[in-house]
């Protein structure tokens, strides 16, 4: 009777990780190619378009980069924020809800800004977004610290509360509902005035939005925060062993509250930037970053440079799949999602293979 079981690999080698990932990605692309051939599409051409995010043969190539960055910025900031909480073993999966409340509060500022100066308006929008989301994060953390509630459930359910709230706001025509466009008979979210819309630096036709610069700065700040500051050190210790942290005299409850506030506030900030960039709000403004961010944070093993690279690659994948699908009338976004899913699944499998090995359970050495 021989049985097999999983054993965590003792050593770590970059070579093995790279090989595993390469095999995983090749396998997923192979499966995708078979499906594409089945649909009568040349897979090499399709992948070419996908990986070049539709740049090839595009009249407005700079728009592709702008579009990619619009996907990238919220994902990057959200993943960093989630990574911060995860590092402390606080399972904040309320990214969607925190993003939405941030977005709603940014919109409240925007719809009531009445010609305030642009810089002031956008800063206020981001502040409102960050603060509102941060307070939610703080509340969840407080319940956890005080009553040991399950933060996974709390944050998960909060996502749905916010989703239904924004749905309600978007569907209810009423005098008080300043979110809606008053001109339209059908309920539809209004557009922000020019003073609420994110600006950028013009490089030729290309506009480098300030939100991109903000995101890069946030990445660097978080990197320094986690690696060099006392608060960052406390997060690592609490995440590693809260018994040790308490023993070292750290006030674990306070650290959890503080970190969760920062985590949620950052997601709110991402929402503020995204809302200002979009110039309006909608139910789908999160673009699922609350969920994708969880995958990014884990794939990157919670390392800040890793999150930067992973979220960029996932943005390319998302944007590229969509771009490639556009050019083939028979390919719809469901197929693009399927392909993305296959690739992500393979990468996770590769990561698993790089971390664990399967060994045969040995029988006793009898004489």
């Amino acid at each position: 009777m021989s049985e097999y079981h999983l054993v965590r690999r003792g050593d770590f080698s970059y070579k093995r990780v790279i090989i595993c990932y390469a095999i995983g990605i090749l396998v997923s692309l192979g499966i995708g190619a078979l499906l594409l051939i089945g649909l009568g599409i040349n897979p090499i051409e399709y992948y070419g378009r996908m990986l070049s995010i539709g740049l090839i043969g595009n009249r407005y190539a700079y728009k592709c980069i702008e579009g990619l960055l619009k996907v990238f910025v919220p994902l990057l900031i959200t993943s960093l924020a989630l990574g911060l909480a995860f590092k402390m073993r606080f399972w904040n999966i309320g990214g969607e809800g925190e993003f939405l409340i941030g977005s709603i509060c940014a919109a409240i500022v925007a719809f009531n800004s009445n010609g305030m100066p642009k810089i002031l308006t956008i800063i206020l929008m981001c502040l409102a977004a960050a603060l509102s989301a941060g307070i939610v994060g703080l509340a969840v953390a407080a319940l956890k610290v005080k009553f040991n509630t399950n933060e996974t459930l709390m944050t998960l359910m909060f996502n749905y509360i916010m989703l239904y709230l924004i749905r309600y706001l978007g569907n209810t025509k009423a005098g008080w509902n300043f979110f809606l466009n008053p001109e339209s008979e059908r309920p539809i979210f209004g557009q922000f005035e020019e003073n609420c819309k994110m600006g950028g630096i013009k490089i030729g036709c290309f506009t480098l939005l300030y939100s991109v610069i903000a995101a890069v700065m946030i990445t660097i700040i978080i990197y320094i925060y986690l690696k060099y500051t006392k608060q960052g050190y406390e997060i690592s210790v609490v995440g590693d062993s809260s018994a040790t942290a308490r023993y070292a005299g750290m006030r674990v409850g306070r650290i959890i509250l503080r970190t969760m506030f920062i985590s949620a506030a950052l997601i709110g900030l991402a929402a503020g930037l995204a809302t200002s960039t979009a110039g309006t709000i909608s139910e789908s403004i999160t673009n699922n970053v609350g969920w994708t961010g969880v995958i990014v944070a884990w794939l990157a093993k919670l390392s800040v440079p890793g999150i930067f690279i992973t979220s960029l690659l996932i943005s390319v994948l998302q944007y590229g799949c969509q771009a490639a699908a556009t050019q083939y009338p028979s390919i719809d976004s469901n197929f693009a999602d399927l392909l993305q899913g296959i690739i992500l699944f393979s990468v996770l499998a590769a990561d698993f293979a790089a971390t664990f090995k399967i060994v045969k359970k040995e029988g006793p050495k009898n004489d």
Binding site: G54, L55, G57, N58, R59, Y60, A61, Y62, K63, C64, I65, E66, G67, K70, N181, S184, E185, R186, I188, F189, Q191, I203, G204, C205, F206, L208, V216, T219, Y223, A274, T277, A278, G279, T280, S282, E283, S284, I285, N287, P305, F308, I309, L312, Q322, A323, A325, T326, Q327, P329, S330, D332, S333, N334
Partner: protein, 404 residues
Amino acid sequence: MKKLISIVLTVALSAFAFAGCSASGAEGESGSGSDFRVGAIYINSQNDTSGYTYAHHKGITEAMTAAGLDPATDLSIVDNVPEDAEQVTAACDQLAGEGCDIIFGISFGYIDAMEAAAAEYPDIIFSHATGYKSNSTNFNNYFGRIYQARYLAGIAAGYKSLALGNNEIGYVSAWGTEYAETCSGINAFALGCQSVNPDAHVNVYEIYTWGDQDLERQAAETLIDTFGCCVIAQHCDSAQPQIVANEKGVFGCGYNSDMTAEAPDAHLCAPIWNWSAYYQTAIEAAMSDPSAFMSTVGNYYEGINSGLVAVSELSANNEPAAQEAIDIATDLMKTGAWDVFSGTALSFTGDAGSVAVTENAADLLDSDGNVIVAAGGASVEDGVIQGSMNYYVAGVTQVNAAEG
């Protein structure tokens, strides 16, 4: 590592930024040999087999084939786009980048993003269904007078109720007076019924969603069982109300497609859309002279005359006189001599082979007895575009109380 990435990224960004400026990139190859490219933004997937997106996709591909384009190579689609300005903008950018010459957006919520995209890309025509915005050069809206087709279906239902001696007619509706689109459809249908059976009474059951098969079924069951309706009309996505009518041995008028297959013993006829009628007009105009698009096509709001709306072929379940009456009414609307919401009511009399119509000047009253159009007055707009029709005409009752 990070430094390297940021440098690479910056270089790449600036390179593309300048490369893209000339806006002269190679265009997509076209199998038909034509340079013309159509773009479409769908709310669902083009691979759907029924429903709203399906109907539009069918219209676009038929129109392209008729115009000598190949949908397999000359059409770019961004599908599953929610009513979210950012995603609609991204879709517009994508389609513009691929060299589309005309871009259709089929859902109401695309309105603001398409307006902005039209301003950003003056060389491309943006055409938006069900909206109310436009500009003078490259942005129009399009929709159809589906109420005319509903009036015709009402005639068929009126004959059936007369023959059965039952004045109660049911109507399963997504919404009621909240949307002019549903409200005008109910009113036109009721007026059609009344042109044959002056005592016909339309019972509206509102389900508060554009599509939910269970609710649609329950509504139809209530209308038949509780209110004793003999014909079930509908303004909702699925064929459930017709299937219920079939099960319960009453009759019905479907919507969007001929539902005779789903309800062979019950279905009379259905108001239907032929979107290719518009798409062909729009694509041909854009191909010949895009700069004149707003004068040749403009905001498009056509009815029976253009073929955009129609009733499906009458099934064998109809009363024999129905076809004749429908033909007469169709001709009146086609010539523009008469329209539904006017101060003139049609009245059909006579048996099959000798159906006659009389035009009686009469006040068009709402369900509270207020005069909408004085006797002999011209037809008012159904208000779908402007959203002004928010009342039921006399003879219509909503049977389930309004929510809230």
